[in-house]
Symmetry: C2
Subunit: 406 residues, 2 copies
Amino acid sequence: MSVNLTVFEAFHVIEGLKIGYCNAGIKQTQRQDLVVIELANTATTAGIFTQNAFCAAPVQICKEHLEQAHTQYLIINTGNANAGTGKAGFDDAMNICQTLADFKGVDVKSVLPFSTGVIGERLPLEKIISSIPDALSNLSEGHWFEGSRGIMTTDTQPKGVSTQFKYKGETISISGISKGAGMIKPNMATMLGFIATDALVSKETLQEICSELGEKSFNRITIDGDTSTNDSCMLMATGTCKLPELNNRSDEFYEVLKAELEKVFIYLAQAIVRDGEGATKFVSIDVNKCENTNEALRVAYTVAHSPLVKTALFASDANWGRILAAVGRSGVKNIVLEDIQIFLDDVCIVENGARASSYTEEAGASVMSQQELSIRIDMGRGNASETVWTTDLSHEYVTINAEYRT
Amino acid sequence: MSVNLTVFEAFHVIEGLKIGYCNAGIKQTQRQDLVVIELANTATTAGIFTQNAFCAAPVQICKEHLEQAHTQYLIINTGNANAGTGKAGFDDAMNICQTLADFKGVDVKSVLPFSTGVIGERLPLEKIISSIPDALSNLSEGHWFEGSRGIMTTDTQPKGVSTQFKYKGETISISGISKGAGMIKPNMATMLGFIATDALVSKETLQEICSELGEKSFNRITIDGDTSTNDSCMLMATGTCKLPELNNRSDEFYEVLKAELEKVFIYLAQAIVRDGEGATKFVSIDVNKCENTNEALRVAYTVAHSPLVKTALFASDANWGRILAAVGRSGVKNIVLEDIQIFLDDVCIVENGARASSYTEEAGASVMSQQELSIRIDMGRGNASETVWTTDLSHEYVTINAEYRT
């Protein structure tokens, strides 16, 4: 089950980026579970990573390799996160990188490893290593769809998007894929994102764009408040288009490219929420008129994480008292109840410290019955706004997470 | 469904405290939903209240009246929380206090009001006011059990406990009741607690005891992380026993009485968790070897609130990776994974940054299959410890909260 998420199959090729895949048998299913990305020499790579204090081994290696070398390969396995695996897990991930590097005659540091799946189990190292040649054997610029399928875990659908735009007569392409459906929360998620453009961008500038857009997209989604040990979102620029190198923010092209990439980042982040474990609703929590961003996020996440708000959303019950109670316990100092307005879409449900006089149960129920809706909270104390996207809490969420390992 | 919670019916009378009750028809059921407590003139009263910024009207009034006058009556309704009801709700609660005060010829400030139930609806004022005489007509020292039933909302069972102890030849009695099953989180809950002793205690000293014990009991339980607008826990000392007044901490009797009351506070707080909405397990989260209390609580609550940990508990799945991931995202600075040990009861599951070498799935599964278990996390960085009690997240929780208003 997912909320208004369509499978995207028509990806634009990103010249200079090839994807290979195979079934390494990690998950004992017939689905592909190992994906390799190969980048042209002109490519630059940037990334943002989980803020969980316990980074998985591949994330630690990824950060180091990304900083120390020019990235040429990315290798992604699903089915096992290689997290909480200690020194042995670190060695396993390095072993995979070294095997790929040896095959291709490149430095081990030019390989970035990614893993997602169960935490705390050792990787089936032999299976992965022996499958690397299979994945390399079908590298192709046309394998974006297969890549989107190959990185799935509990996702019900592959997630991808692709777009093109023109700048100074040149056509620039962007394609991206993401995965993730649970353990999704502020500051990344059990999510992976791989986004690429054929623009030529310096590594530093690409990192700026990636960090800025990650903050507006993947760091604004939450399904269950749990932050994974493995989240990574990579932005790659293959540099194969004919435009000159973008290497500073003051270049006019910076904002143009960033705006196009932003749509892709937000689409892919929202796709994860739409496919949230057990999701039956896609909900925007818009918090306005706050003193600062921090305060707005605090209110937004408290509402987004409230099991009582989430179960009311599942039941399509306009139980605004639960929203109000969540705002009240958000920890924001000196809140004045009388200053707060709460809306379901455009229907005002709370004002002057109580239910809005214009409110009717019918109007509230009508909004709540929609698959997509917004909860808007105006705090009446400043100019800062923030939006967070989330889902409801359904029986299906409990079923999925109570049965994940069995 | 509840976890090892037995109905307590044999309450010791607390001389100087009478309980009356009736069915005011607030919830359209046949169950009693209005309770009155009458206190002797020698009685003192103390209380602790919700930290939700939006206190319900009765909580605001309660705090004022408790501070400004000698308490003689408490009046409690279920079915409606009278929260988020603005000025009108405040007037309704005052109206109830005034009606009771007029009947009994006491000052309105000697009456404390309590409400619990749906947020945001006006109280059915006429029904309550017209029922006050009914509740007053059966005031009796023997009505503790009826009182425990009369304050229930989604509770599946009434909650109460009673004990006696001897000091200097005198027998001191303690009886207490509590309610609450959801919206339970640090810093109180949708919970009400009424605990009484026949000791003679000054109001200031009683408040010290109440605050201290509340911190160790009702402020250490969490079911779903939601903090209610209405939580209140009252401690009453009727002063009818023959011991001299306790009015300072250095009196030997202070620690004796506090220790006995502590057992009652903890029993009643844990009873709320045992009857947690949809609970199938009672879980202690013990966090040790932290730098300070704040850090220990932060880790404990992050684990206790994790939907992934809670669903794993529901499934009896020793998915320790989820526990580890929750510790990692708790926000405690500079955590060293290698210093941490995690245990299920006495079974070590994590050490040296990975699964403990001695661990077997069988040993983990055996602990997880129990109805009661502890998750112990030793952070290896100091001497502070804290314990929080919580439950799992089951289908039943979703069902209850998705259907509460319907």
